[in-house]
Symmetry: C2
Subunit: 256 residues, 2 copies
């Protein structure tokens, strides 16, 4: 018995469900299934309108939903394009390490402590939902400001492909970039857990601090379109140097 294809790419103009929403779901599915890959252009609006026999304004409404979902961006005169999800921005303003440090008038730096192929131990196998002893790529690094260590990072990604480790990926060793290169799907969502803690001996040593140093511990897991974890990392931030700031509410320009 063959099951009926679910979510056919057909719009029911007389459904209770708004047309723009049906179209939104169709386009979303195409993107998540990889039929439309990040960077690719969507068909022109008038073409979509014609294809489904609906008004261009309705098409635009659907696309504007994709835009606010962050899945699509638009370029006047060129087209609508599938976005590359940015998973390494922080909800709190920890955004871009280099920019942040430079904004404060300091010299940012990073040092690679090691890049290795390792076998998953119990903890890692659990985090990445893979078998014990599966091969993973392990990256250790320290981020610093004015040559003073601020962050200690450990990152792991599933290492299925036999791809060699390219310079390219060490220039942008963000979890989502690493996962993009080594996974079959691209990452679409990331989970972060922030804890307050006290540095372990190893962490205190690498960060060059004394004992009883308060630290932020940030765990990040990135997932692909099928909700499988494809990367996991743990970062230790010096608590005496790092503050996370956020603003909530109605905008009204800036507050210093």
């Amino acid at each position: 018995m063959k099951s009926i294809t679910p979510h056919e790419e057909i719009i029911d103009k007389y459904s209770i469900i708004p047309i723009y929403y049906q179209l939104f779901k169709i386009l979303e599915k195409n993107i998540l299934d990889g039929k439309l890959k990040p960077g690719e252009a969507l068909p022109p609006e008038h073409e979509i309108a014609e294809k489904y026999g609906i008004s261009r304004m309705t098409v635009r409404r659907a696309i504007s939903e994709l835009i606010s979902a962050g899945m699509v961006y638009s370029q006047k005169g060129k087209g609508n394009f599938v976005a590359r999800p940015k998973l390494d921005d922080f909800a709190f303003e920890l955004v871009n390490f280099y920019e942040e440090i430079q904004k404060r008038g300091m010299k940012p730096g990073s040092k690679l402590l090691g890049v290795k192929i390792v076998r998953a131990d119990e903890l890692l196998a659990g985090k990445l939902e893979i078998d014990l002893n599966a091969t993973c790529l392990h990256i250790r690094m320290v981020l610093s400001a004015d040559d003073e260590p601020l962050v200690y990072e450990n990152k792991y990604v599933v290492y299925t492909k036999q791809k060699p480790i390219l310079e390219n990926e060490l220039k942008d060793p963000s979890l989502s970039n690493l996962a993009t290169i080594h996974g079959d799907h691209f990452p679409i969502i990331s989970k972060r857990v922030l804890q307050a803690s006290i540095a372990t001996e190893e962490e205190a040593l690498i960060l060059g601090t004394g004992l009883n140093m308060p630290v932020f511990v940030v765990e990040q897991t990135v997932y692909d379109t099928e909700k499988k974890p494809i990367g996991w990392g743990k970062s230790i931030y010096r608590g005496d140097r790092y503050k996370l700031t956020s603003y909530i509410g109605w905008s009204v320009d800036d507050i210093s």
Copy 2:
């Protein structure tokens, strides 16, 4: 010499600036100036359209901008209403203490340690940008789960009105609520700063923990429409019990 009224409530249909954006700014200004107060209804869409001689679709576009800015919400069949800004939600999922604790199957509780009128010391005068010795309302409380202290909070609001302290405001002792009652303007934006630290002796005592307890320190400042601080608070969260989780990226239902 009389200066020309800036930002007149007139729309230039032939301006380079889109009509919907001009209207958005007009409505935003009316809200921030208090001509439209939280809870009040905006004029019906067709009325706005008629007033400015523009299409209703364009009015809707302007209002949809207000909605995504969180300043307006819409009720089908009733109207569009000015929203009350929610400033006590966390960017990280610290949202509502009671709900969060209950969701984890524990019994939430809160204990008032004290409500006082105090005179501003140097620190407080700086935080609230008021004069030394100005009168402030000071609230101290402890939030707990299953009778175990989890959070220690200190909150201060400017105390200009001679209003007595009502039971009402102690039932919702959120900074934005307190500030709403005692200030002239309502709060529209709040700033939070999160730090990792180690509990002071006083904090450890109140939270019932040992020394060297890692804690989150959360400072919150709420501002009114004129960007003047009207409330300030400092909360201490037990780091061994509290994690902050956030998700970033394309939605795709939930991840556990």
